[in-house]
Symmetry: C2
Subunit: 212 residues, 2 copies
């Protein structure tokens, strides 16, 4: 199909698709003449994926590009699936485990102490530790009352979620990174909506109605 | 303090603060002369809150404005705290429960059937039902493999989170909406970071390593 048809099928505009092509988010079509290219089912899938990641997942296009790169990497089967996926998401290059002594641990003291007490085996040089530290600090500034105990309770729930995430990764390494990356990004809005609905349910059923 | 000092204390710029003033996100200072106003601790707190909601919570300024409105509403104690909070977040006006027969249920058939099977007592006319429906559909389009069973497993975790959320709301209605709204927005990035770290932990400890 031509680019105008690709736009129609995917509900985009030709302008948007040309922008994706320039940014390398959409693979080029097969040249038919010097000014015309032919697009197929793989292009439709790619456009839908870019839009899902940016519109549903809320990622900027730089992050979308990194994720597409991680998904398309040929030697992906040899890498730790979770680590590859997470680094694509966090925007950090995956650091080498040896020979880089200046990789300082991330996050503030309190966050690192909490992780240690939790006995979570995570890489303290990962950008996610910073994200947790910053998000926790913002809760403090707003007076949310998020102490270690409440964080532990949330972490129990996060472990349940992560167990489902990890169990749902396909056994073949070929599709595993794709699954993990997309699952992490696209399930996030599902979880956010479930949380809001569950709050409603809890408030309506009155089991823990805070107003009573 | 002057507006330049307020900018310095909060790590903003005068341009940003003037923009907040024009948008009504920051309450005006106390006029000293015709061209000069004095700002206090309440302004510092407000600027920090706006920035936390927009930068950490990832909300656009229209949503920040609605949230500030909900937090500041004087008769908030008489309303259902959760509903007020959620409607501020979803950008929908809180519908009246009587006399509006044309409020159609939201979301697709599958989502409503799942909610019914789950026995969640939620308002099917709420925009959150649409959000769940769309996010679930995006997972399908990307081939994530999110079926009813896996959604149920995530919902179990969401119920745990919601129970903590609801239990942490202060008993006085005065601060309750503030707590719920800010908690919902600002805890979201905490939960996202916890999920990533828990994934790492699960993958490293090998209990459910998908590559093995």
């Amino acid at each position: 199909m031509r680019i105008s048809e690709l736009a129609e099928v995917t509900g985009s505009t030709v302008t948007t698709l040309k922008f994706y092509l320039r940014r390398g988010l959409l693979q080029p079509g097969h040249s038919v003449t010097r000014t015309q290219a032919e697009y197929g089912a793989e292009h439709v899938e790619r456009v839908r994926l870019v839009r899902a990641l940016s519109e549903v997942g809320g990622l900027d296009l730089a992050a979308v590009g990194r994720i597409l790169e991680a998904i398309g990497a040929p030697d992906v089967g040899r890498l730790d699936v979770m680590a590859t996926a997470q680094h694509a998401l966090s925007g950090e290059r995956r650091h080498e485990s040896a020979g880089e002594g200046d990789d300082a641990p991330r996050g503030d003291e309190r966050t690192r102490a909490w992780i240690a007490a939790r006995k979570w085996q995570v890489d303290l040089r990962d950008a996610t530790v910073d994200r947790l530290s910053e998000a926790w600090g913002a809760c403090d500034d707003a007076g949310i009352g998020l102490d270690e105990g409440r964080l532990d309770a949330y972490a129990d729930a996060a472990e349940r979620i992560a167990r489902i995430d990890v169990a749902s990764v396909p056994p073949e390494p070929a599709g595993a990174v794709r699954q993990v990356v997309l699952g992490t990004v696209l399930v996030e809005p599902v979880l956010a909506a479930l949380r809001l609905l569950a709050q409603q349910h809890m408030a309506i059923t009155g089991g823990a109605d805070p107003t009573k």
